[in-house]
């Protein structure tokens, strides 16, 4: 018995070979190379010079690096936390109130509308928002028209404001993802539970906090894990909206690494930055997935 199973499993291993080999070549080899470069001084040409942990020592004393991490905290708020909270609220409103009184049709129209930004390329939504937020753009035109000219400003050009504006755009881009997941999670809810709660005089808010939110816990977890990881990797949004500026006010680690790789030819330093993010992502993903696996049994 044991030998047959063993033979069977080796037969199947052939199917894994190409995928595994290609992943090793295209993904693991570059990863190892990045880790190695992070221990060298290298401009991208010539031979890398081994310098040990010098890049990392420099990194931890670099104000730009710490600024980029502070900004990442903001990004995670904009990409993970605000959309989750807003998504929970909207999903409950659409499912438990509008869906019940006006049918599923209107709910799916709303859902599609709010999901749309998720399928548009970030480069394009960035172009669009850059246009709308420009000094002569639509937002300032609206403010002028409704008599709030005093608020007119360069939305992405003000160091104190740019990060908040980026955060708002991120929420706009991201909202559809939790909303769609939550709306489908709500399909699981036993309708009798809501009905019983209503008969007992539970208000909408009580049903929301006592039934909806606890039931959606698994979805909330998935959304927070995946979007937190996405937040750590955020690049395109920053590249197209602000280029990290003004100053370093919207700089994020991925963009900081990119600058060192391709604009400053400081490959060793860029590699140290990206190695740090990679390790952080792997640790966070590992912790969260192990926790989830343990909870699932």
């Amino acid at each position: 018995m044991k030998t047959t199973r063993h033979r069977r499993s080796t037969g199947y291993a052939v199917f894994l070979a190409p995928g595994l080999l290609l992943s090793l070549l295209f993904l693991v080899v570059p990863l190892v190379m990045t880790f190695y470069y992070s221990l060298t001084a290298w401009q991208g040409i010539g031979t890398p010079v081994f310098t040990g942990l010098d890049n990392y020592t420099r990194l931890f004393q670099d104000a730009d690096f710490w600024a980029s991490f502070r900004n990442i905290a903001f990004v995670i708020v904009g990409i993970a936390i605000v959309p989750t909270v807003l998504g929970l609220f909207l999903a409950a409103l659409l499912f438990d109130y509008i869906g019940k009184k006006h049918g599923d049709g209107i709910v799916s129209v709303f859902r599609s509308g709010l999901y749309l930004p998720q399928v548009i390329p970030v480069a394009v939504t960035g172009l669009m928002w850059g246009w709308i937020l420009a000094p002569e753009g639509a937002v300032n035109s609206i403010l002028d028209t409704i008599g709030l000219s005093s608020l007119v400003q360069n939305w992405l050009g003000d160091p104190g404001l740019a990060l908040w504006v980026v955060l708002g755009v991120l929420v706009w881009m991201q909202l559809g993802y939790p909303l769609v997941l939550f709306l489908s999670g709500l399909q699981r809810i036993d309708p009798e539970l809501y009905e019983a709660a209503s008969l007992d005089g539970a208000s909408w808010w009580q049903r929301f906090t006592r039934i909806t939110v606890p039931i959606l816990r698994p979805e909330v977890y998935v959304v927070l894990v995946t979007t937190t990881i996405a937040g750590l990797k955020v690049f395109a949004q920053i590249f197209v909206l602000t280029g990290g500026g003004p100053g370093n006010s919207t700089l994020v680690p991925a963009y900081f690494a990119y600058q060192n790789f391709f604009e400053r030819a400081d490959v060793g330093y860029g590699s140290a930055i990206s190695s740090t993010i990679t390790l952080l992502v792997l640790v966070i993903a590992g912790t969260m997935l192990t926790r989830q696996a343990r909870e699932d049994g």
Binding site: Y12, G19, V29, V124, I132, F235, A254
Partner: protein, 307 residues
């Protein structure tokens, strides 16, 4: 947005169990639309306004893509065009060689879909159905590879592609992105396959079917619902990629749609309506795709995100 998901199959299995319930939820939700009050219409109106405001940016670029510069300067960005002027879209189309960009994006995305789905299918067949040794370790490997940030890989890839002559070419880029997505596909399909009815495979194997036959004749047709959703998602992801094409596809005749259009950035002051038209050109293909594949997109996202 990438999602770590688990078995769509399980959720579908559960759905088939529901008809036995004493309170079919469809009936229940359909009873409800009797109790509409003025309050509920106010809520619907409020949400409608919210959704319209949410989508307003699309409307704004739509109207401004048809204005002449003179019209724009005279009336600002909020008015309707004095006349619907298609020439701006046409100019931008030519300036960025949009036809070429569309062809590139379609070629690349289709290639990525094929590579990613085939590799994922093979990997998952070995892990989920073949139950090869160390399968958990392999699964963890693919899971880990799946979360790797692209910025942690991009420089060595850029360097190696230059050495190998794959730099600034669609072929190498397509293979790279296909492999990247195959890790996610492997993870997703493996958990779908772990609930695959084993009797079917054993029966076929008793009838003398080999592993290839079982894969093509039994596993592939039965997992088509999951595979089709994967195809749709990989297509969208690949279409929307940013960092890799930014670094690896630099010449005009290799670039994808989003990258080709983003060169218009910064030309705002000189030509505002052209930039609006560029954004519009970038939005349209994905809106069309969204309308066509809406069901797959929402189902795929939700199907198995949670066990």
């Amino acid at each position: 947005m990438k999602t770590d998901t688990t078995a769509p199959a399980t959720s579908r299995v559960r759905k088939t169990e529901t008809p036995g319930r004493t309170f079919p939820r469809r009936d229940w939700t359909k009873q409800a639309p009797g109790r509409r009050g003025a309050g509920s219409y106010t809520v619907v109106a409020a949400v409608t306004v919210f959704v319209l405001a949410f989508l307003a940016p699309f409307l704004i670029i739509l109207v401004n893509s048809f204005k002449t510069s003179a019209d724009y300067r005279a009336n600002g960005s909020l008015s309707w065009p004095e006349q619907w002027n298609w020439s701006i879209l046409g100019d931008v189309w030519e300036r960025v060689d949009f036809t070429q960009k569309l062809v590139n994006s379609i070629q690349i995305s289709l290639g990525v879909v094929v590579i990613a789905v085939v590799l994922a299918l093979f990997n998952a067949y070995a892990i989920g159905i073949g139950r090869i040794r160390w399968r958990t370790a392999f699964l963890v490997f693919f899971l880990g590879v799946n979360v790797l940030p692209q910025e942690g890989l991009v420089y060595p890839i850029y360097y190696l592609f230059k050495e190998l002559g794959l730099y600034d070419g669609k072929l190498g880029y397509t293979i790279l992105v296909g492999i990247t997505y195959s890790a996610f596909g492997t993870y997703l399909l493996s958990s779908v396959f772990s609930t695959f009815p084993r009797e079917l495979i054993e029966a076929a194997s008793l009838d003398g079917a080999g592993r290839w036959t079982i894969l093509w004749r039994i596993v592939l047709p039965m997992s088509w619902p999951t595979l089709s959703v994967m195809c749709v998602f990989f297509f969208v992801w690949s279409w929307n990629e940013f960092l890799y094409p930014l670094v690896l596809l630099i010449s005009n005749d290799q670039q994808t749609v989003p990258l080709g259009l983003s060169v218009m950035q910064g030309q705002y002051t000189s030509d505002p309506t052209a930039m609006s038209a560029a954004a519009l050109l970038g939005v349209i293909p994905m809106i069309v795709f969204f309308l066509v594949f809406q069901r797959s997109l929402t189902r795929g996202l939700t199907a198995g995100a949670v066990k």
